[in-house]
Amino acid sequence: MNGAIQRDTSERRFVARARSVPALSTIAGSATMLLPIIAVSPLLPPFGLLMLLGWRLLRPELWAAWVALPLGLADDLIGGQPIGTSMALWTVTLLAIDLVDNRLVWRDYWTDWLVAAVAILFCLGGSWIFARFTGGGGTVLSLAYQTGIAIFCFPAVARLCVVLDRWRLAR
């Protein structure tokens, strides 16, 4: 009896961990914007977006496209962008990746990186346009710089997702 209860609670803990780790790690990625550095130009890649893409490409069955809505809202609130920026852009990105998934027959490391690169370009470019639309944005040069860094950071973030995935599913 006691053993059964114990097994039950550990089972519940396992399920809770397996379900919450992807979302929490994505929010933690967004929270890197809170690092106590004062920057005069955008210099960090958007780790929230990179985590989202990493999880989505690693585990296609994990999330429906609408998951990007709450995650994007959290990113907007943490970063102080106009609310709706990441909500809209991230959701469109996930919808587009769903479409691509239905078309692609073969997928490997390089296709994943290519898909992620296009998604990063779309999201950063979109948020740059939205920032200009709602008050003031940066220069094209700083946008290009940040996009480049983000694309080259993606494989490392994808690796991190794999490590987290192993940990969350370990018995």
């Binding site: 106590p36 210099l43 609310i83 709706g84 809209a88 997928r107 003031g136 940066g138 220069t139």
Partner: protein
């Protein structure tokens, strides 16, 4: 390898329906997001309560790490100064000699200035600052140049107030939480600051470029108003920013506009001072008609 088709539509009505509903929610969410963007364009203070609460919640995280970063930064510059001690010493001695001469000159001018001011009874009484607080962080990956200040509505900070440091202008309050507020640095693309050049008094506009520098544009056309090394200060025109706060120093001249760098480096600021919105003094009243 060929990917397994997780999202293949099976024959189960239930699965098809839940997939379909998921997509509908996603599309509705995108539309709502775009609508929120329109709201943000026409009412930047919208959702202030929600955004303020998020700001309050995240400020302590940033604030705790900030002291560590500051220690590392100052240690780094300390080591650099030690390495360059010799040449720096010579340069500083030269500078000091020059500065002493200028100081005497400046004292004389200040004296003269006070005398003149007393004469026209325009004694400048600077309003008391609203709050003095630490800048704790900034948005590191967004395209707006926002920084977080560790004082909010409880301390009397309101959106729109100018923020300065002892070195110069820092920016303007964008939105406030209870304990923290978000300020747009003057290098943000949305900041237009009426200024003038100290050397010639030429009125200019300082416009943020979003990459740490400012664009200076002369308001009068013709001529070459800028020189490298020119300092721009706020002019107080149109209110908001009080006059005579240093803004930026010109680093590159390109015809009628120039690139300038702000004098108050936000990365090294310890404290920022929030001031009340400046209202220019009313024009002097016309002399009363002599009584008959």
């Amino acid at each position: 390898m060929a990917p397994p088709r997780y999202r293949r539509r099976g024959f189960s009505r239930r699965i098809q329906l839940s997939l379909f509903i998921g997509y509908v929610i996603a599309v509705i969410g995108v539309v709502i997001g775009l609508a929120l963007m329109l709201v943000a364009r026409f009412d930047p203070q919208g959702f202030g309560l929600l955004r303020g609460a998020a700001l309050d919640a995240t400020m302590p995280i940033t604030s705790a790490g900030r002291s560590v970063v500051r220690a590392v930064e100052s240690a780094g510059s300390g080591v650099g100064a030690y390495v360059r001690a010799g040449s720096q010493n010579n340069a500083l001695r030269q500078e000091l000699k020059l500065a002493k001469r200028r100081l005497i000159h400046a004292k004389a001018i200040e004296h003269e200035n006070q005398r003149l001011k007393r004469m026209v009874r325009l004694l400048e009484n600077r309003p008391r600052p609203i709050a003095v607080a630490r800048l704790v962080g900034s948005n590191l990956s967004g395209h707006r140049r926002f920084a977080t200040l560790a004082a909010g509505a409880r301390a009397g900070v309101r959106p729109g107030q100018p923020v300065r440091s002892l070195d110069g202008l820092v920016g303007r309050v964008f939105e406030t939480g209870q304990f923290a507020s978000r300020i747009t640095l003057l290098t943000d693309g949305g900041n237009n600051i009426p200024a003038r050049l100290v050397r010639s008094g030429t009125p200019v506009f300082a416009i943020g470029r979003g990459d740490g520098s400012l664009d200076l544009r002369a308001l009068v056309s013709g001529g070459f108003p800028f020189k490298v090394g020119d300092v721009a200060v706020t002019s107080g025109t149109g209110g908001v920013y009080p006059p005579n706060i240093p803004v930026a120093v010109v680093t590159k001249v390109d015809g009628e506009h120039a690139v300038a760098w702000p004098l108050a480096d936000p990365a090294r600021l310890d404290f920022a001072i929030v001031e009340p919105i400046y209202q220019p003094p009313p024009p002097p009243a016309p002399p009363a008609p002599a009584a008959p």
